[in-house]
């Protein structure tokens, strides 16, 4: 029963090397500032609750119990965090190149449809082959979708934020068309869906839990993306290009392939999220795929300050808030929008807290000796 606890924030604790205090101080900045922002957000939200005549203490207690306080709640949180991990990576990867891609929802829904179609076409193969085929189909279409946004950006200077958002609408319309038209299961009368997957195309739960394998895939993907960005030459090149495209070009870096490649990889991961929704949750593709994970992923990525490792704890936090949201509604008689208010407050404060980096002397050992 420790599956849940192994994933939290492994990178944030610094290895004790020489100059421990200095290293700790530098590393602490990226931990203390967002945590402080979260606490301030919670404080403001408490005032909001008091204004509504509700008890902040009860709210926090319910958040804890609903999101993290029992094995059931932890599994609930993990399940809700699973799709957010991959959806957030779809924002994080392009962000390292300085691109703000907010259309991951499109890659998710198309990935789901592609997976359902592929799973149906190769249903006769062994289960592993079916799952792999579904994943590849989903990643291919997701990669093409977001990769195209990168290509538009690089070759035609089309703003990637706008184009990705608009392409998400196209993707959802395309999904509706396919699910209600060519790929529709004639037996799905009042909820148009694709033909249900056979058992071979279904992803089960991690043994001993109710949580499907999507959480494992998501965490592994976060770790892999961290390695890619921090430890490989492509990641280094991407960071350079993200810092200054002109400088990167003068250095001879192939910026075009970098942009398109990172966008395609981001889209492939979002497509995979759609495949997991289909294989682990729905069993077919239908309009419920457009559940907004792609948009919540934007929130996760920004809260994680575009760090693949930061995505893990932030996804768990938002998953926990979502898991507890129902309990808060039921026990406190608050509308569902309350949780959106909380998320909005946290989001704005974390963004605002970005301006505080480098302002506190305590996190900067170089300034310790000097007069202010």
């Amino acid at each position: 029963m420790t599956a849940a606890s192994t994933t939290s924030a492994p990178a944030l604790a610094a290895p004790p090397t020489g100059g421990t205090l200095e290293t700790l101080a530098r590393r602490a900045e990226s931990l203390v500032i967002p945590l402080g922002a979260l606490l301030v957000g919670l404080g403001l939200f408490s005032l909001f609750l008091l204004a509504l005549g509700k008890s902040p203490a009860q709210f926090i207690e319910l958040m804890w119990r609903g999101g993290f306080g029992s094995w059931f709640s932890i599994q609930n949180t993990l399940l809700r965090a699973a799709p957010l991990l991959l959806a957030a990576l779809c924002v994080v990867l392009p962000a390292r190149l300085g691109l703000v891609v907010i259309g991951g929802e499109g890659a998710i829904v198309l990935g789901g449809v592609a997976a359902a179609a592929a799973g149906h076409w190769v249903a006769g193969l062994p289960p592993v082959a079916v799952i792999v085929a579904m994943a590849l189909a989903a990643m291919a279409i997701g990669g093409l979708w977001i990769g195209a946004i990168g290509a538009l950006r690089h070759y035609r200077a089309v703003n990637e934020t706008i184009s990705s958002l608009l392409m998400a609408y196209i993707a959802i319309a395309l999904m509706n068309h396919l699910v209600e038209g060519p790929l529709r299961d004639p037996a799905s009368l009042n909820k148009p869906s694709t033909i249900p997957l056979t058992a071979a195309g279904r992803l089960g739960a991690v043994p001993g839990t109710d949580v499907h394998w999507g959480i494992v895939v998501g965490v592994v993907a976060c770790l892999a993306c961290w390695l890619l960005i921090e430890k490989t030459r492509w990641g280094f090149a991407a960071r350079v290009a993200g810092g200054n495209v002109r400088a990167a070009q003068i250095q001879g870096l192939a910026v075009g392939p970098l942009i398109i490649g990172f966008c395609a990889l981001a889209g492939a991961l979002a497509g995979l999220a759609g495949m997991i929704e289909v294989a682990a949750v729905h069993g077919n593709a239908n309009a419920s795929l457009a559940a907004g994970y792609g948009y919540t992923g934007i929130l996760v990525a920004f809260l994680a300050r575009q760090s693949p490792l930061g995505v893990i704890p932030v996804s768990l936090l938002l998953g926990g808030i979502a898991a507890a949201g129902g309990l808060v509604q039921r026990r406190m008689g608050l509308p569902d929008a309350t949780i959106l208010v909380l998320q909005g407050m946290l989001f704005i404060l974390v963004l605002l807290s970005d301006t505080l980096y480098g302002r506190f002397k305590i996190f900067n050992p170089d300034r310790w000796g000097r007069a202010p």
Partner: protein, 373 residues
């Protein structure tokens, strides 16, 4: 205790106890027949907001009627997507609130979500709105209920037929699925019972809840000469306000929208879920088994009409009352032959009449002659 949440327990104490005491909650084995009535908890799950003047509000009004029964606790959750979220909401209601009867009210909650939870919690009862429950396929602790609201749209059509001067009425529809097609056809056939030259323009928005498109569709209908509008989307608020703002009359759907347009609102086809929910809840309290497949229409009190608005004339009122009386005696058929689709195919043969209960209507895939779009 908490880890053992796979075994079903009733934790009535949780509801009233403060923070710490909760973890010491007493778990009683959950029997289908409640030992103490005070402990019976019923859960309602909505896909949208409870005050949407539409689909979800209709269910929440039904739930509110159940709250009045003594010995019952009602828990509600709104804005629950048709994903793993709804499975966890059901599980949370069962595990943390001790719910022994759950009503997931959105169509998409049925398969796979409610079915998965029903297998996991065989001692909890699940009743779903709209699903085609099948004894041979679905667990015995599940079931479904629904109402024949098409007849309400037929009555809407009668009033609309009298109100329309342009002889062109309009329908804002979400998706071309059987339930929606039935409503569109019934609306036009009701109007044609007044004047057989009336036509109905329909616009599909493609989504159950998409306010911008609903407003655009309504404006487009009015621009095209439509002077009475109704709809089948989750929340008719936007359609009603937009149409009334443009000077068109409106017929409501799902719930009573007359407060949104008191002068322009003619009548509306409303769900009366209070009948269904109090029926289930009383059986639950009495320890009787719950029905698995429940259907009803105007005669059974599952569907009701909004009070006629001030713009409804005497002739309309008479024809409306006559048709309503005929429906209440039973056997009324709006869909009867000879009937052609708007593509010219014969869809119902001469002499054939399909009352609201006819199974063929569940797979309707045509729009009748006179529907445009």
């Amino acid at each position: 205790m908490i880890k053992a949440s796979h075994t079903i327990t009733r934790r009535s104490l949780l509801k009233t106890s403060a923070a710490g005491a909760a973890f010491g909650a007493v778990g009683l084995p959950l029997t289908y027949r409640p030992a103490r009535a005070a402990a019976t908890t019923v859960g309602f799950i909505y896909v949208g907001p409870k005050d949407d003047y539409g689909y979800n509000q209709a269910h929440a009004e039904g739930a509110a009627a159940v709250k009045g029964l003594s010995g019952l606790t009602v828990v509600e959750e709104e804005n629950v997507p048709e994903t793993v979220d709804v499975q966890k909401t059901m599980e949370s209601m069962i595990n943390l609130d001790g719910a022994s009867l759950v009503f997931p009210t959105s169509f998409g909650y049925f398969d796979p979500h409610m079915l998965a939870m029903a297998k996991k919690f065989p001692n909890v009862q699940f009743r779903h709105c709209g699903g085609l429950w099948d004894k041979s396929k679905h667990p015995a602790n599940t079931g479904s209920y629904f109402g024949y609201i098409g007849m309400g749209q037929y009555l809407n059509g009668i009033v609309a037929g009298h109100a329309s001067k342009s002889k062109k009425i309009g329908f804002v529809a979400a998706k071309p699925i059987p339930q929606v097609l039935m409503n569109i056809n019934s609306f036009l056939l009701g109007a044609r019972a007044v004047d057989p030259t009336i036509v109905c323009q329909v616009i599909f928005t493609g989504e159950w809840s998409l306010a911008v498109k609903e407003a655009e569709a309504t404006n487009a209908l009015v621009d095209g000469g439509v002077d009475v509008v109704t709809c089948h989307v989750d929340g008719p608020k936007v359609v009603v306000q937009t149409a009334a703002g443009r000077g068109a009359y409106v017929c409501g759907y799902h719930a009573n929208q007359s407060p949104l347009a008191p002068d322009k609102y003619l009548t509306g086809a409303e769900w009366n879920w209070a009948t269904v929910y109090t029926g289930f809840a009383k059986k639950m309290l009495a320890g009787e088994p719950l029905d698995n497949f429940v259907r009803g229409g105007i005669a059974e009190g599952f569907v009701k009409m909004s009070p006629l608005g001030p713009a409804v004339g005497e002739a309309a009122r008479k024809q409306f009352d006559a048709a309503l009386a005929e429906m209440k005696t039973g056997g009324f058929a709006a869909i009867k032959g000879p009937l052609k689709s708007n593509k010219g195919d014969q869809v119902v043969a001469a002499g054939q009449a399909l009352p609201e209960t006819a199974i063929e209507l569940e797979s309707m895939n045509y729009l009748v002659e006179g529907v445009q779009g």
